[in-house]
């Protein structure tokens, strides 16, 4: 062996010997420094932009319609979220329910509202006024003023932090979206070069994956034998990939790194979902539209994969741009869906019951003053989202190890109020990677785990 070759080999061997003990089976280099508070987190982007006035303030029509139209019948307050919040329902002018004119509220599913089980941060600062910026702020723990629509988040999401620093596998992290619009399909990972797709979350947009489009192009997928057919297929594919990589300087795009076994589990899950859809047995809250369906499929994912983190995006209340009555109904229906979800986790998914922490927070609030649009049904004024009131949101948290503080962070919004970006670091804290996230330098300077604020 020549001297130069010997030195090269000896150096590589020494380096390998030093590094090898730290390369964990998951592919990450170092073990996370924190301990888990709970093994599962469900983060609900209770979204579409909702005002604190109609949610935690329980002011119903009094500060949305009566202010602008001082008819006594509109001076009604009350709680339209009986599963999430404690408080009496409006006593008159009930339009937020179901049935004729929405005059029948949906019966609460939870006997004890989540507010009475956990912590409600009443005044939380939303740091972005739009849906995409607001939603990915919850996932990134920060906001980026240069973030355009229809582009991946610029800094890592909670999914990537968990997978890169916590060693969580791809099927431990799920994002369930409600639509292909508003850049929603881009939420499952950032475009950051040190993170990105290979640390991204699995994702379904159930209305499409299991909708008409899925019926046509996914439902009848042939199930190949894993060893006799798929394994040689992957082997030949990897040969072709290696061959291409040796011939090109092109950057091969990363994909979410599901192992072959994880892929097989996801494909089987999809097959089962199409069968359940045909049989009409997919889990679904009894009331509600697309948001309810999204929550139902999220429960199917939780039941199958028991993820460490499940993020659910709902946005029915965004109808408020032109239909305030519809907005009230969407808030009420979303409350029903989330109540159903929390009850289902506790009663039907044994691995997650009593082992899960639930966080709900909106992407942004809505304006103090209405726009000129009146809805057809009640002539109610509609609201957009761009002014200071848009910054007022709440965060509700409950579950394993979370005590009961039903009125936290009350009083006017201030510079010391919690941020809605705290959601990301809170999830990281619960799952044991708080310090790694803080060390990354990607979080908002004031972002702090909400558990540290209890």
């Amino acid at each position: 062996m020549k001297r130069r070759e010997f030195i090269k080999k000896a150096t590589l061997t020494s380096a390998g010997a030093m590094i090898a003990p730290y390369i964990l089976p998951s592919g990450r280099l170092f073990a996370p420094t924190g301990t888990q508070i709970a093994p599962h987190v469900v983060l609900v982007m209770y979204a579409g932009g909702i005002r604190n006035q109609e949610t935690v303030d329980q002011l119903y029509l009094s500060q949305s319609q009566h202010t602008w139209n001082p008819t006594p019948s509109l001076n009604v307050t009350g709680n339209i979220m009986p599963n999430l919040l404690s408080g009496a329902a409006p006593s008159s002018k009930v339009v937020y329910g179901v049935g004729t004119s929405g005059n029948t509220p949906i019966s609460p599913i939870l006997s004890t509202p989540i507010q009475s089980q956990g912590v409600l941060f009443k005044e939380v600062n939303a740091i972005a006024a739009g849906h995409y910026g607001g939603s990915i702020a919850l996932l990134q723990g920060n906001t980026n003023l240069a973030q355009p629509l229809l582009e991946r988040p610029k800094t890592p999401t909670i999914f990537e932090f968990l997978r890169k620093h916590g060693g969580y596998k791809a099927t431990d992290t799920w994002f369930i979206g409600n639509s292909l619009t508003n850049s929603v399909p881009l939420y499952n990972h950032s475009g950051h070069e040190d993170y990105g797709a290979k640390y991204g979350a699995n994702m379904f947009i159930p209305g499409v994956t299991f909708g008409n489009q899925g019926d046509q192009f996914l439902k009848d997928a042939k199930i190949y034998h894993p060893q006799n057919e798929l394994s040689p297929m992957y082997k030949m594919k990897y040969f072709l990939d290696n061959s291409y990589e040796s011939l090109t300087s092109n950057n091969i795009l990363d994909t979410v790194g599901n192992t072959e076994a994880e892929k097989q589990q996801i494909k089987n899950f999809m097959k089962t979902m199409f069968q359940k859809k045909q049989a009409g047995t997919v889990i679904r809250p009894p009331q509600g539209g697309n948001d309810a369906s999204t929550v139902g499929y999220a429960l199917e994912v939780m039941k199958e994969f028991k993820p460490a983190v499940t993020v659910i995006k709902i946005d029915g209340p965004d109808v408020c741009h032109s239909n305030f009555t519809g907005y009230l109904r969407a808030i009420h229906a979303a409350d029903h869906a989330i109540g159903y979800m929390w009850n289902y986790i506790q009663t039907q998914i044994p691995d997650m019951a009593n082992e899960t922490i639930f966080i709900a927070t909106p992407d942004c609030g809505r304006n103090l003053n209405p726009n000129p649009i009146l809805d057809n049904e009640n002539n109610f004024r509609a609201f957009d989202h761009s002014d200071a009131n848009t910054r007022r949101v709440f965060t509700l948290m409950a579950g394993k190890s979370i005590g009961n503080e039903p009125d936290k962070a009350t009083g006017p919004l201030s510079s010391t109020s919690p941020l809605n970006t705290d959601a990301a670091i809170t999830v990281g804290h619960i799952l044991g990677i708080e310090q790694e996230m803080l060390n990354s330098g990607f979080l908002h300077s004031q972002s702090q785990s909400l558990i540290r604020k209890l």
């Binding site: 791809a170 979206g177 297929m233 030949m236 092109n250 091969i252 892929k263 494909k267």
Partner: protein, 167 residues
């Protein structure tokens, strides 16, 4: 006399037209073999969009085009799934299961009757290039050493390959 002139002019015109016959390139003989040119893998640098990939894979598998509306819907399916490679895999599996139209895949008998031709044809069909000798040898071994290796599974691997994502 006038008639004689007319014949002379016509005769001259015939001569001129014969002499000025345009030469086609094909008529020229360079004494070299005609060679069909293919792009190389290294020149494929642009990523196909989801719609482009759908359109091309459908055409390659079924030898017919998919409607614009269906291309859009199939593209939405890919967008709706986080793991894009898995989404493509499921779509290919769905195409392979189609009964109307049937995917145009050679029978295993045809494939094994002339393995080199099958390999060349598959590379040209999916990757628009000829295989290198190494690639050809790899697939020869795959087919010869594995009696159950089907043309369908080989097509699947090509349709799912990274090179197929670029043009």
């Amino acid at each position: 006399m006038k008639k004689k002139h007319t014949y002379l002019v016509l005769f001259s015109l015939c001569l001129v037209s014969f002499q000025c016959k345009k030469e086609n390139l094909e008529d020229m003989v360079f004494e070299i073999n005609e060679v069909k040119l293919y792009p190389s893998a290294s020149s494929k640098l642009k990523e196909k969009t989801e719609s482009q990939w759908i359109a091309v894979v459908y055409t390659n598998l079924f030898q017919q085009a998919l409607s614009a509306g269906d291309i859009y819907k199939a593209g939405q399916c890919i967008t709706s799934i986080g793991d894009k490679e898995l989404a493509r895999e499921v779509i290919i599996s769905n195409f392979m299961n189609s009964t109307s139209p049937l995917p145009a895949i050679p029978t295993d008998t045809d494939m094994r009757a002339d393995i080199d031709k099958f390999i060349n044809d598959t590379y040209e069909r999916f990757l628009i290039r000829r295989p290198t000798e190494g690639e050809k040898q790899y697939f020869r071994n795959e087919i010869n050493n594995n009696p159950t290796r089907s043309a369908e599974i080989i097509y699947f691997s090509f349709a799912l390959s990274n090179e197929y994502l670029f043009y």
